[in-house]
């Protein structure tokens, strides 16, 4: 993945990201960590193109993230599954494929079933999101993100609303996707998952990229903020 963050700032009511500059190339799975309010969720949303930065721009794989071309190449997994609640797990996927990716009914059905199978949901395909567990819904949401055949998959704290057992279930499912040749950018609080799955780590602190590098920085942090963070999340 080639990542170019060019002087972005972002404000809601107050400024949450301050003039970020960051260039990176050659990694496939980037973790963004930090305490709540450090701006990591904002950063991942800006990277996905879902929100536009107040200033500056971001290019990923040499595409501007607000371009239509880029939008077709990404998948996004939200904090709490965010499936459409009135549609079955399968229909959540087929609707998108039929209406926005010009697939026929049969093609959409085949893709949906294969992705749901990949996430071990073959026997839940016709259930509504409210009738499956939080972990199953979140896995369906991952299947939905995969179904559009993205190059990059974003995961914004995919286990934030899950208990430890369901967290494990979801993260294991994500780890199994390693072989698919996709690229990942994710925000998480689960450091064991960062160690297993990421090949690059960005640590955010107070709206800035404070420390970054290979996952080994978690074991020997340089800044006192990351040291403090590592001590607290343990």
């Amino acid at each position: 993945m080639k990542l170019n963050i060019n002087n972005i700032s972002h404000s809601y009511d107050v400024e949450v990201l301050h003039d970020l500059k960051f260039n990176l190339e050659g990694y496939k799975s980037i973790a963004i960590i930090g305490v709540s309010g450090s701006g990591k969720s904002t950063l991942i949303r800006l990277m996905s193109g879902m929100e536009k930065p107040t200033f500056g721009n971001i290019d990923i794989n040499e595409m501007n993230v607000s371009s239509e071309e880029y939008r077709k190449k990404i998948g996004f997994v939200f904090q709490n599954h965010n499936l459409f609640p009135h549609l079955s797990l399968k229909r959540n996927i087929t609707l998108i494929l039929e209406k926005t990716r010009n697939k026929t009914k049969e093609e959409a059905e085949t893709i949906a079933l294969s992705k749901l199978k990949l996430l071990h949901l073959s026997d839940q395909v016709n259930k509504l999101p409210k009738n499956v567990s939080g972990g199953q819904a979140q896995r369906a949401s991952i299947a939905r993100a995969l179904s559009v055949d993205p190059d990059i998959i974003f995961l914004d704290e995919p286990t934030a609303s899950l208990d430890p057992i369901l967290t494990h279930e979801v993260l294991t499912a994500v780890e199994e996707l390693k072989g698919l040749g996709k690229e990942f950018i994710f925000v998480t609080h689960v450091l064991s998952f960062v160690r297993d799955f990421a090949d690059y780590v960005i640590y955010m602190h107070e709206g800035r990229i404070h420390e970054y590098g290979l996952p080994s920085i978690l074991d020997s942090p340089k800044t006192k903020e990351l040291k403090e963070f590592m001590r607290k999340v343990r």
Binding site: E68, F78, F84, H86, K99, T100
Partner: protein, 252 residues
Amino acid sequence: MVLNSTSTNKFNNVIWYSLAILTVLGFVIFVVLRQTTDFSFIVYKDYSSLIQTGIINTILISVISLLGSMILGFVFYLLSKSKIKYFNALIDVFTEIIYGTPLLVLIIVMAFLIGPAFNTYERNVMGTIALIIYMSPYMKNVYKSAFSSISEEQYMAMDLFGFTPFQRYRYIIIPQVIRILMPPMMNNFSLIIKGSALLNVLSYTELFYAIRLAQSKTFAFVEGYILMWMLYLIITIPLSQLTKLVERKWSL
């Protein structure tokens, strides 16, 4: 085990509900027996076709008012969401006035003041319009809560996958909104049915007026009111049961 306990629960429920119904019936019978005058519904048999007309008209006017207030309520909702501040203010002022107005007053003002001001002496039409106008702010609120129940994140997901505006409404927003709308809509329908009784002041032959007409001939007032009460319950209770069913089946 689980199956067993739910079926016992169901059985228990039947017992408790039967007891509750019997209690109410017992109370009614007690009240009826305490009446000193003769008590008989038989006299109303001669007026059954009048009462039938009353029932039909009540249902007819209620359905018309429901549809009318659904449409007007939606217009109100759109105006309250409009970027033009004047419209928002207009709806706010209107809503406040309606909330504070007894339906009876509105019906009379509509039929005897506003109607004639526009050269309309069709009292029944004006009465129905009063009912529609009265319900519209409530309908507006139903739309408001239904639309606001679709989360910001769902809109983000729609953006992300690139649904067109038409597709959003057709496949995602409206199907959800309808499910959320149905139960409060049906509650409002009950309110309309009961509210339509007030149209009797315009001598419109709905159920209330029909019974009163019959009462004036039979002089059996108590029986008439009880009959009226029962007939309203026969219309509204199935409706509210249906509402509960829809609520259970369609909840998201």
